[in-house]
């Protein structure tokens, strides 16, 4: 298996009112060809900023401070804008969480797909249109010839997300990043979109980074899971091992809070105590210690490192 993407010591900061927030704090991970990586965590844990850093679409006042992002050997952080634009959309593409906001409202969806094709594969107008219709058909849009001329507001949320997916996959990228692609859709559509993404990824044999705060979703599709908390990776490992045998207290509580088939009616679901820490003033030591059920003295003043537990598992906790 070839290494597709390697992120090393990535740190992305936001400077707001002269205070520095480490939205992504020194994280490293890697992804192989054809592998599905799930990134889970609560809101504000730095999942989106991590993947936005990969494509370098962090908006002001955000800034990537240091780190390396190696995509098939080339460091994305040292490329200039022009070379990067050859990779964006062509080699790595992204699906956003709100499909209605991710489509340009004044251009027809068909045109938006053809534009990507014209940009990256140098097709002419007619070829691009044919290709776009073919892609629309592939993602399961009925009557693609007619839908080609529709504006985004004429489509339903699910259809819009299918269009976003077809823009992302139009140039057959090597890596797809899906940033909570199902969050704003209703449950039945969520399942359809999820299986569509998984199908397309399998068919095109590409890598997928899937971001979600729903650990149940990610457990169905991912080969490998990263659990993030307050801008850091707290646990990393193969999906089955993480689900069956979570190591970090945060992961344990996260899994405990899921309803299962054996959950009795009327029994309250468990929740993780407290709230996600304010990134402006993180707790000292381990960021999770105020909410942790197994907190020890050492956790309060010392920051744990990501430690290898066994051959593929990592966790950052003083318990190990």
């Amino acid at each position: 298996m070839n290494l597709l993407l390697e992120v090393k010591n990535l740190k992305t900061q936001f400077i707001v009112q002269q205070k520095t927030i480490n939205a992504v704090n020194d994280i490293s991970f890697s992804l192989y060809n054809n592998e599905v990586l799930g990134i889970v965590g609560e809101s504000g844990s730095g999942k989106s900023v991590t993947v936005r850093s990969i494509l370098r679409i962090i908006n002001y006042p955000g800034k990537i401070v240091h780190g390396n992002i190696l995509f098939r050997g080339a460091d994305l952080l040292s490329l200039n804008e022009k070379d990067l634009s050859l990779i964006r959309g062509k080699e790595i593409s992204m699906i956003f969480q709100e499909p209605s906001a991710a489509l340009n409202p004044v251009i027809t969806v068909g045109e938006q797909i053809s534009e990507v094709l014209k940009q990256h594969i140098k097709l002419n107008k007619k070829q691009a249109k044919e290709e776009a219709i073919k892609i629309l058909k592939d993602v399961g849009i009925p009557a693609p010839e007619r839908r080609y001329h529709d504006y985004p507001h004429q489509l339903s949320g699910g259809m819009q997300q299918r269009c976003v997916i077809s823009i992302a996959l139009a140039c057959k990228p090597k890596l797809l990043i899906a940033d909570e692609p199902t969050t704003s859709l209703d449950v039945t559509i969520q399942a359809q979109i999820l299986s569509l993404i998984v199908d397309m990824v399998k068919r095109l044999k590409i890598g997928l980074i899937f971001i979600t705060h729903d650990i149940g979703v990610v457990s169905q599709i991912a080969d490998k899971i990263i659990v993030m908390y307050a801008g850091k990776i707290v646990e990393e490992g193969p999906t089955s091992q993480i689900i069956d045998n979570p190591k970090h207290p945060y992961t344990i509580e996260l899994l405990d809070s899921l309803p299962t088939l054996s959950t009795k009616k009327g029994v309250k679901l468990k929740e993780i105590k407290g709230q996600v820490p304010d990134l402006f003033n993180l707790p000292s030591g381990c960021s999770f210690h105020p909410r942790c059920s197994q907190v020890k003295k050492i956790c309060i003043n010392n920051i744990p490192n990501l430690k290898k537990i066994n051959n593929k598992r990592y966790a950052s906790c003083f318990l190990y």
């Binding site: 936005r52 990779i87 964006r88 992204m94 906001a101 991710a102 340009n104 409202p105 004044v106 990507v116």
Partner: protein
């Protein structure tokens, strides 16, 4: 984009004033494009013997101090006003939109520089700059139009910059960027089409401003040089005959007022419709 005009010109959505606005504007458009059909006389044809005549069947608004037909001169004056305003708005749009878009989207030091320069232009009353520039460039139809355009550019610049600042932080701009679009592609194909409603409304409003500035300049003798008929200069001359023939000083004013008000109504309608379609 194809059905935008159909959407805008649907008369069922219009209020009465807006219908009147469109109708009057249409009549002025006819005057501009085909003045020889609408006018009854040659606007430059002098007939000194029958000067300062009262309205009659032959000269419906009477004749001026050189015996020229006032009605025909007003009709040809529409041509002068509208074409000057058109060139002025076109100039303001080309310069204002391109700099505003660039400034708003790029930000940084270029934005700062262009905005401050714009503030300097804004700090003078438009008519003063226009007079000063016309003194420099000389008095001919094109330079008057371009000077008026330059005076109106800051307004377009501000609107374009403000709207593009709003648009550039929206998720679909990030989405287009993540699909590999270049900076100029994003500016022209993503940000600009989404600002077009606001710019269009503003363009109609500055057209009214351009008409007023052109008339004011002509009134002061700095506009389109005579003998071309212009409402402003007709008003200015008509003023001296106010006691002998009141209508000479009033009718060109009524033409200016009608054109300006009809443009206001039309721009208000378009503003209303575009708000409606945005939400």
């Amino acid at each position: 984009m194809q059905n935008i005009f159909i959407k805008y010109l649907n008369y069922k959505n219009m209020q009465l004033t807006e219908k009147i606005g469109f109708l009057v504007l249409f009549i002025f458009l006819l005057m501009t494009l085909f003045p020889n059909f609408v006018a009854t006389h040659d606007p430059l044809e002098q007939d000194i013997i029958s000067r300062l005549q009262n309205p009659s069947l032959n000269n419906i608004f009477g004749t001026d101090e050189l015996g020229r037909d006032i009605y025909s001169r007003c009709v040809y004056g529409a041509n002068t006003s509208v074409s000057t305003a058109f060139i002025a708005v076109l100039f303001a749009l080309i310069v204002g939109v391109s700099t505003g878009l660039f400034s708003g989207y790029s930000g940084g030091i270029i934005d700062e520089f262009l905005s401050r320069f714009n503030d300097i232009l804004f700090s003078f009353p438009g008519i003063i700059i226009a007079m000063a520039l016309i003194a420099v460039t000389g008095q001919n139809a094109i330079s008057v139009a371009l000077v008026i355009g330059l005076v109106d550019t800051p307004i377009i610049f501000r609107v374009t910059r403000a709207v593009s600042l709003q648009i550039k932080v929206l998720p679909y701009v990030d989405a287009v960027k993540s699909a590999g679009a270049s900076k100029y592609y994003i500016m022209l194909k993503t940000v600009l089409p989404n600002c077009s409603n606001e710019i269009f409304v503003q363009a109609l409003l500055i057209a009214t401003r351009a008409i007023i500035i052109e008339s004011s300049l002509s009134f002061l003798g700095l506009g389109i040089p005579p003998p071309s008929p212009s409402w402003g200069s007709m008003l200015s001359i008509g003023r001296s005959y106010l006691y002998r023939m009141v209508w000479y000083g009033i009718i060109p004013g009524i033409f200016i007022m009608m054109l300006v008000i009809s443009l206001q109504f039309v721009s208000r309608y378009i503003q209303r419709i575009s708000k409606y379609s945005n939400s």
